[in-house]
Symmetry: C2
Subunit: 229 residues, 2 copies
């Protein structure tokens, strides 16, 4: 069994948990993060700290020149103070077109260069039901593509495995799992629209889901929030 | 029918022909090129000229930070003077890991932002039989993924179509097709390893396939070669 894996490490709560899961399962980890001029680029600092703490083999931050069209990397305001129903209905404006496909395509290249047959991604179909590229059928389609796309698929008939261990978990379940594995969530960042000091807003969808997750898990979120309102 | 299409336009012979085919079929074209520090970045100048000549709606050159591991963008010599058997056996060192997956993922994002349901790509399974990501089954897997990946796939149940009109053509057939459609092949660049003046070497695999294609088509290649040897 090949125990090398590429992990998409955003620096958020989910990917930190995935990193801990992969390490616990004995994988040597190659971590991959992206700088796409996201509003919340403070997450990249967290990704660096997490990569170091979890002793990854290599950590690459790849600059991406994306196409805009999202509140995360374009001049569109991040929605705030939405209720649960608003958050879970439809595709949010924070959706970045084809982002997971671009992320996974880069992970595949990085995996091929480092001879990894495993890719871990922290997508979640429960809280982010509105994102097309977080659904199990999407992940399964990418897995098929990945094996067809690469040298190893042709030469050795080896399969690329896409692991999405959080895909069916609630945020509370993810947090419990991570705490069991010793993840220090203070080292993660989730907010879509942090202030100039990098403090989380507490009211964007991502903060709302995170806070609700901690509450449901019966735990306290260790990060600081800039709760002025 | 949506008559808007994204075209992957490298500036080479194949993508120029695909551009002509899409225009002939009535598509409004959004052209996409990549700057990945390829040795043959002169092709990007050709892409700009072709985009202008074919009146595309928009032309984006996206900077990609790829992972190396190929003679095209790493410090590995480009093979020269190989015979036909050598060229067609195995996966060449000019293969860039997961390149077409990264290219198509970007095309998908660009398509989604511009509300295009069609993507054209000049892959070819005949001359490049060694590239895993030029095979029909790969293109078909990407097409399935693309529909699952995007907003339109969820919201309108519309399908993304990946057009690979050259996939089963020989280089000679591609050239004949392009000439019929009025492509000026002087405006294209194929060489993997041009000299400082941007002149094609004439002896790398890409030049060899191009020259053989023109010969078999009974035509003369209009580009200049730096044939010193």
């Amino acid at each position: 069994m090949d125990l090398k894996a590429v992990i998409l490490l955003s620096g958020g709560l989910d990917s930190a948990t995935v990193l801990a899961i992969a390490k616990r399962n004995g994988f040597r980890v190659f971590a991959l993060s992206f700088d796409y001029e996201q509003r919340h680029s403070v997450e990249l600092e967290k990704a660096k700290i997490l990569a170091k703490k979890f002793n990854v083999e290599d950590h690459r931050i790849v600059k991406l020149d994306l196409f805009g069209g999202s509140a995360l990397n374009d001049n569109i305001p991040v929605p705030k103070n939405r209720n649960e129903k608003e958050i879970s209905s439809g595709i949010p404006i924070t959706y970045v077109p084809a982002r997971n496909t671009i992320f996974l395509a880069n992970a595949l290249a990085y995996a091929e260069v480092n001879k990894c047959l495993n890719i871990f991604v922290g997508v979640n179909a429960v809280d982010y039901s509105g994102y097309p590229d977080c659904r199990p059928e999407y992940i399964s389609a990418f897995e098929k593509l990945a094996t067809l796309a690469t040298k190893s698929g042709i030469e050795n008939e080896t399969k690329i495995k896409i692991h999405a261990p959080l895909i069916q978990l609630s945020k509370a379940e993810i947090i419990r799992k991570g705490l069991e594995l010793g993840v220090d969530y203070q080292l993660t960042h989730s907010c879509y629209d942090p202030n100039d000091q990098g403090l989380s807003c507490g009211v964007c969808d991502s903060c709302a889901l995170r806070l609700k997750g901690f509450q449901e898990a019966g735990e306290t979120d260790p990060v600081d929030y800039a709760l002025s309102s």
